[in-house]
Symmetry: C2
Subunit: 134 residues, 2 copies
């Protein structure tokens, strides 16, 4: 068994799963990403306008789910969660492409982040090429 | 503290860090991804040619590293690991875009996977649009 240490936490207006837009929506709100003090050094060179990949721990997910109907639509074929973006999966890690809109002390504001308030953050990586999201 | 359960493991010819190509290289080898029996159901609908995002646990990384010289080049500016793709970071999660080349029982062959042999796999997600890697 391997253990994660959250490096930060999300502060969002999204307070419940019912408020979360589905994957393809582009209506996710802005959110503040708070970095815990011991990891602030690892943010050196993060700047306004940076394109980042946030990896989060979707803490309200159901880790027992192995198959699902994509988009919660019972008419879609039953599909393994590894071929879906469902948050319910054995290790509920979220991948989010965001842009830094503001930076204040140990927190930064990002665009379009579809996770619940208080979601732990596991890792941050740069998007190497914004158009390719690599 | 959150714990994850490996859902599979990588079988690769890459046996040591010295053999690993750097990020931008496209010379990473093919590798077999073995899914552990209890998670095979979650692979339903994974097919030959599927474009997948593999999330791995880079088990040989140094989790204490917070800043680094990108590309191990001492002439580059010291940068927070969250603005680099260095494997050394607090939670060493690797993101890899691969294509399924073959499927045999509980394992599948993928293209271009730059991780060491026996790297644990945390999650698999579909690439929703191959050109965007979303």
């Amino acid at each position: 068994v391997h253990a994660f240490i959250p490096i930060g936490i999300v502060h969002s207006t999204l307070q419940s799963l019912e408020q979360c837009p589905l994957q393809e929506s582009e209506e996710a709100p802005e959110a503040w990403v708070e970095i815990f003090p011991e990891f602030i050094a690892a943010c050196k060179e993060i700047h306004h306008g940076a394109h980042l990949i946030l990896l989060t721990w979707l803490h309200q997910a159901d880790r027992r789910v192995l198959v699902t109907h994509p988009r919660n639509d019972p008419t879609t074929p039953l599909t393994g969660v590894f071929m879906t973006r469902s948050p319910d999966r054995p290790n509920p890690i979220g991948i989010h492409i965001v842009t830094v809109l503001d930076i204040q002390n140990n927190r930064f504001l990002v665009s379009n982040l579809e996770v619940l308030n208080e979601t732990p953050i596991l890792d941050i990586k740069p998007v190497i090429h914004p158009l390719l999201n690599l």
